[in-house]
Structure formats: structure tokens, C-alpha cells
């Protein structure tokens, strides 16, 4: 109780005084970055900064969902992967052979079949207007949906198998990467819209379950639809929106890239700050803090919630696309809940949910620790192996890398638990203004 009390006073007092806390934390962060630069060299450190800035965009997406609106998205990974896929699909060169072949036409036919099926099913679902009894209509619509689904998916299976065998995959669209980033955000927002539509009127737990599920499904599709993504064979190199390392060298290319992501962060930050202080932001917070009274004041709660959820997903899609392009490699298996969901979650709850500056701080700080902790994880792993071999006599050397990852899984989990317990408002808490 007492710690909470002090937090409160802190919050109320902070707007009027010098932002000491922010200054101190960002100075430490700057010192850490300088330290990394001197120790690891400019190319390596700049790469780290670019990745951290992409994560900051993801974290901003999560902070408006969780911090502004109290919605917990447990499937950031899925939206990141969607963004990454769009970045890949738009920027990779066109696969001319495939498009010139009859298979492209067949793929189009499958698409048309699917469209026709959808139309027929939608039509069947409206039959009650023609006097067909409702139970019959529902049964008919479901049966037709199943039938068309089976036919289309069987046909699609045949066509895609041939594509994979003859042309590898359908290739990209050969467009500038930034177009893929925008579309990535839009696609992620669209998926977020459907999930939000289903879940946002219900208990917040359901949203967490559904997002966790959709993330695994998106990953499964990207991993297994080889004709679309080359699956486990991965796609590389993805073009950059700025001159690449081959033209201007590693460090400079990464600095260019960083300048883009930094501008994006600043733009998003400014827009979000405006929105936060605008009536729209006040309304969102009113809904988060007291649903009942917000509803009593005649606010359309579910609609507002949907807006903010979709907005968060769009940011995640854009961030994921930027990250994907930068990695220059599209590997669906590289999308892991740990790296792309829970790491982002830690950034947000540690930095300060609902506080954009805190979230950006959290993103950079956590990412630096994350990258620098690799040697530490290896040391922990050695200990564990020594223990494991000593006590149970396991052979452990074969799976060394995957186990190094698992040690970090534990640390992230512990971090989440500790932050929730001891710093539930994060290092830079949201500045709650008390209106009368």
C-alpha cells in the first residue's frame, strides 16, 4: 500500500517540476549507447540502434493498446510477421517466369473460384429475405461454405504445389520497400480490426487468448505457404529504402536507415502526444479507468476501443515491416513469441505503459540489455549444463544454441514478474492529471 501511495504523489507532482527522472534515465541510456559504440564498433552498434528503433515503433503500438486503453495484445509477433511479409512481398523483384507461365492464370482462377464461393455463400445467407426459413438458410449457407472451401483449397493445393516445384515461389512486386511498409501496417490493422471486432466487447482476457492464437496462425501460414514466402527456405536479400551496405559501406548505410526509423519515431511520437491530449485521448483514458461511467456518459465504448486497437496493430505492422527490411531476410521461423511479443511487452511495462517517452526509453534500454546479455546467457547456460550433466548425465552439447535462447526466456519471464510486482507503473509512469 505504502509504495503505491508514494507513486501517486509522484505522479501528481511531476508535471510542474523539472523532468529529473527523464533526464537521468536518458543520460544513462546515452552513456550506455556510447559505451556500446566504444566497445563494439560503429557498424555493430548502429545496427543495434536501428533494430532498437524498429522495436520502439512496435512498443509504441503496444503502449497505446495496453497503456492508453488497457487492452492486452499477446500476439505482437503476428502483426510484426505480417509487416515483415508485406515488406518482402512488395520489395522483392518480380518473378517474371512465374507470371508468364500458365500457372499464374490458374492461381487467378483459384482466386476467382474463391470469390465466387464467397458470393454464393453470402447470397445463401440472405435467402431468408426470399422467404426461406432461417434454420434451412443457415444450414444451406454452412453446407455451401464447407463445399466451396473444400473445392477451393484442394485446387489451391494442386496449383501451389506446381508453383513450388517449377518456379520456387511467386516472387515479389518489385515496388519500393516503403510501399510495403505502409501496406504492412494496413494489413496488420485489418487483422487487428477483425480480432478486435470479436473480442473487444468481452472480458479483456479473451483478447489476449485470441491474439496469442492469431499470432501462431499467421506464423504457421507464412511458414508453410512456400509458394508465397518460400517458407523455411527464407527470402533474401530484401532491398532497403536507402542505399545499402554494398554501395556506401555498413556503417553509413545503417546510419541512413536509422535516420529513417528515427524520423518515423519522432513523427509517431508527436502524433500520439497530440492525440493523447486531445479529447479523443481523454475519452480513451476515461474508458480505460472507468468503463461504467464512460458508458453512462454516452460514449460508444466498443467503437473507441476498436479504433485504438487497430491503431496499435498498424504501428506494429509498420514497425515489423521496417524490421523485416532491415534484416534483409524474410524467415518465418525467425518470428518467435519471445523476441517479438514478450520482449516488446517488457519494453512497455518497464518503460512505462501509456507514457510514450517512457516506452521509447524502455525499447532502447531493453534492447541494448537484450543484445548485450548474450554472453551472460551463455554463462548461465554453461552453469545449467554443468548441473544437468552432473545430476542427470544428459548429452547437452548438441542443442547448445536453442538452450541459450531458453535461458533468456526465463529471464524475460522473471523480468515481467518483477516489474509487475515492484514497478507496476514502469520507470517513467504515465502522468495522470487529475481533473477536478
Amino acid at each position: 500500500m505504502s509504495t503505491q501511495q508514494t507513486h501517486r504523489e509522484d505522479l501528481v507532482a511531476s508535471p510542474s517540476r523539472f523532468p529529473l527522472r527523464e533526464a537521468v534515465l536518458f543520460t544513462i541510456l546515452l552513456a550506455a549507447i556510447v559505451g556500446v559504440y566504444t566497445a563494439m564498433g560503429a557498424a555493430y552498434s548502429t545496427r543495434m540502434l536501428v533494430e532498437a528503433s524498429c522495436y520502439a515503433i512496435l512498443a509504441l503500438g503496444l503502449t497505446i493498446q495496453w497503456g492508453y486503453a488497457g487492452q492486452f495484445n499477446a500476439g505482437v509477433m503476428g502483426f510484426v510477421a505480417l509487416g515483415g511479409y508485406c515488406a518482402m512481398a512488395f520489395s522483392m523483384p518480380v518473378n517474371g517466369e512465374f507470371w508468364a507461365s500458365p500457372l499464374s492464370g490458374e492461381l487467378g482462377m483459384v482466386a476467382l473460384m474463391a470469390l465466387g464461393g464467397v458470393l454464393v455463400v453470402v447470397g445463401a445467407s440472405k435467402l431468408h429475405r426470399l422467404g426461406v426459413p432461417r434454420p434451412l438458410r443457415t444450414g444451406l449457407a454452412v453446407a455451401l461454405a464447407l463445399l466451396f472451401y473444400l473445392l477451393v483449397s484442394a485446387r489451391l493445393g494442386v496449383v501451389t504445389e506446381q508453383i513450388e516445384a517449377q518456379y520456387d515461389y511467386i516472387g515479389g512486386l518489385g515496388l519500393p520497400p516503403w510501399l510495403g511498409w505502409i501496406v504492412g501496417g494496413a494489413v496488420a490493422g485489418l487483422v487487428g480490426y477483425f480480432i478486435g471486432k470479436v473480442c473487444l466487447g468481452l472480458r479483456s482476457d479473451y483478447l489476449a487468448i485470441a491474439t496469442l492464437g492469431i499470432a501462431e496462425i499467421i506464423k504457421a501460414v507464412l511458414k508453410n505457404a512456400d509458394w508465397l514466402t518460400r517458407g523455411t527456405a527464407t527470402v533474401s536479400p530484401l532491398p532497403w529504402p536507402v542505399p545499402g551496405p554494398a554501395e556506401v559501406g555498413f556503417t553509413l548505410a545503417r546510419v541512413f536507415y536509422f535516420s529513417i526509423t528515427a524520423v518515423m519515431i519522432v513523427a509517431i511520437f508527436l502524433l500520439l502526444s497530440r492525440a493523447y491530449h486531445a479529447p479523443w485521448g481523454r475519452m480513451i483514458r476515461a474508458i480505460r479507468d472507468n468503463e461504467v461511467s464512460a458508458a453512462a456518459m454516452g460514449k460508444d465504448i466498443n467503437h473507441r476501443r476498436l479504433e485504438i486497437f487497430v491503431l496499435g496493430c498498424i504501428l506494429m505492422g509498420i514497425g515489423g515491416a521496417a524490421l523485416g527490411s532491415f534484416n534483409s531476410l524474410f524467415d518465418p521461423q525467425g518470428y518467435l513469441p519471445l523476441n517479438h511479443t514478450f520482449l516488446v511487452l517488457v519494453m512497455v511495462i518497464l518503460g512505462g505503459p501509456g507514457n510514450n517517452l517512457g516506452t521509447i526509453f524502455g525499447a532502447f534500454a531493453v534492447y541494448i540489455i537484450w543484445v548485450m546479455s548474450e554472453p551472460l546467457a551463455l554463462a548461465v547456460l554453461d552453469l545449467a549444463i554443468a548441473f544437468g550433466e552432473g545430476s542427470f548425465g544428459w548429452e547437452t552439447s548438441a542443442t547448445l544454441d536453442s538452450r541459450a535462447l531458453q535461458a533468456r526466456v526465463f529471464v524475460i519471464g522473471l523480468l515481467i514478474s518483477l516489474v509487475l510486482r515492484f514497478a507496476p507503473k514502469g520507470l517513467l509512469p504515465e502522468k495522470v492529471k487529475h481533473h477536478g
Binding site: L151, G157, G213, E216, I217, S402, A407
Partner: protein, 334 residues
Amino acid sequence: MNELVFFINNVIVAGSVTGSIYAIGAVGVTLVFSIMRFAHFAHADMMTFGAFMVLLLTLAFPGAGAFLGLPTAVVMLPLAMVLTAGLAVGIDKVFYKPLRAHGVKPIVMVIASLGVTLMLQGLIRVFAGTSGENLYVDDRKEIFRLALPFESVRAPIVVTEPQIILFVLTIICIVGLHLFLSRSRLGKAMRAMSDNPDLARASGINNNLIVAVTWVIVGGLAAIAGTLLSLDVTFKPDLSFFLLLPIFAAAIVGGVGHPYGAIAGGFLVGFAETLAVFNWGVLLRPFRDSLPEWLANAGNLAFVGSEYKIVVPFFILVAILVWRPTGIFKGKVI
């Protein structure tokens, strides 16, 4: 007729197996939900922990089962249940109770349980690796082939020993749980607290006691579910998020906070999964000659490939949330 046997093996048997596992898992989730009102994301890793304990104990005493004529893993199950129950109570004490005392929102408890699940995952996988391990260390997996007494049927119905153990254990679990909830003083108190926690407190029911009892049961059930899953195939430490979705779907379909509903939901999701990945083309084979060509040559007529199995529980989840969020048996918590 061979096709029918194929159907029985691949749908009836396999569906009951998956359904049992999901059912027991979903009961655990639903119990936590009904007493503590949050979605417990660490349940799948508690299951894995239970199975891992069985694996360790089986490795330590590989010959123990031979005395009782059962696989060692089954003999070790009660001990693993105790260990998992202890773990569950401990996790609650250290991670959930302080947050509860602060009166945080349920969704914060969900995040806390994700933190716990990551810790468990990390620990288990650091020690166990991520590859599968067979729980049958020193025992042999018996396979029963029931030939049908028809001339034309050559394929037997295949049931393995672990599957029989699984069915028996599932029935024991369900009956035991039913007796506990409807007859025992603590079981009734659990239902009372799920109905109305304030009134339970006003009746002198110590909420902390009920919470502890719940965790003991949830831990025990998690150990059973995890072990059954590992017995059927192998111990896989990396299933966590793939198990959570069907289990939560089962709990929600059955009506959250409703143990019997969770059992029904578990079987529903289990059968839906096996039916969806089943190749329906097999059943058309006997009629191949009389079918139109496009249907006879349609190839694999499964609804989803097995690599997309996870879509099935998700689809069920979305359907139930849209159609009837309280679940088919009207759960208490929306």
C-alpha cells in the same frame, strides 16, 4: 469397410485421445478462472512441468513399473502430481498472491501468468532441451490390434497401451472431480466461492484456503494432462502456446467457470481437430467408380492440413465468441 476402420482409428480413437487431454487441461483452466477470475496462461507449461517430472522420475527409477505391471511413467504420475501441485501453490504464493493483495485488474494477472509461463518454459527447456523424449524408458509400448469379425475387413482397429491408460485415467479424473465438487466440503466451498466470493467469506470460508486447494487440484490435473499427452506421443517441451489455444477454446466453449462444460468443450475441440485434418477422400474411395470425375480425383479432401491444425481451435474460439460468448453451457464469467 477398411476405410471405416481407418476412420475409426484416425478419428474416433485419435479424437478421443486429443479430446481427453484437452478436457483435463480445460478443467484446470476453468477452475482457476472460476476461483481467481483470470485466464491462466501458465497452464500449458504446468502440464509440461508435470510430464517433465514424470520423465525425470522414470529416468531415475526405470524399473519401478515392472513391479505393478504398469508403465513406470504411470506409476510415477502420483508423485509428479504432488510435485506439480506444490509448484502451483508455490507460484501462487510468490507471483500471484502479492498482486491479488494489491487488487490489480484480472488482465494484469494474465500478464503475470505469462511471465510465469516464460519462466517455466525457460527452466524446463534449459534442462530438457527442445527435442522430444520418450516416456517409455524401460517399458515397451503395447499395441492392441482388434481385428473385426468381417471377412472383408483386413485392417484392425489399433489402440495402444498408453491410449487405454489415458481413457481410464480420464474417466477416473472426471468421476473424481465430480465427487469432489458435489460431495466434499471443500469442493462445495470451491463452488460457493466461484458463485459468490464475498458471501463465501461471510460464511466463514477462508478464501486463501480455497485458493490453495484450487491450485493443488489444478496442478494435479495439469500433471495428468501433460503426462497423458507425453505418453501418447513423446514428451515435447515446446508445445506450450500450441496447447493453450485449444485448451482455452475448450474452456470457453464449455462456458468459463463450468468444469463439466470444460470437459464437453475439450472433447468437442479434440474431435473438431481430428475431423478437420482427416482426409475425407478416404471415405469416398469405395464409391470411386460411381462418383463424378472431379470429385473422385480431388486428392486430399481434408479441411486443413495438419500443419494448420491450430486454426481449428481458433476458429471454434472466434465462432463461440461471436455466437455465444457465455459458452454452450452458460458460463459464469464473461
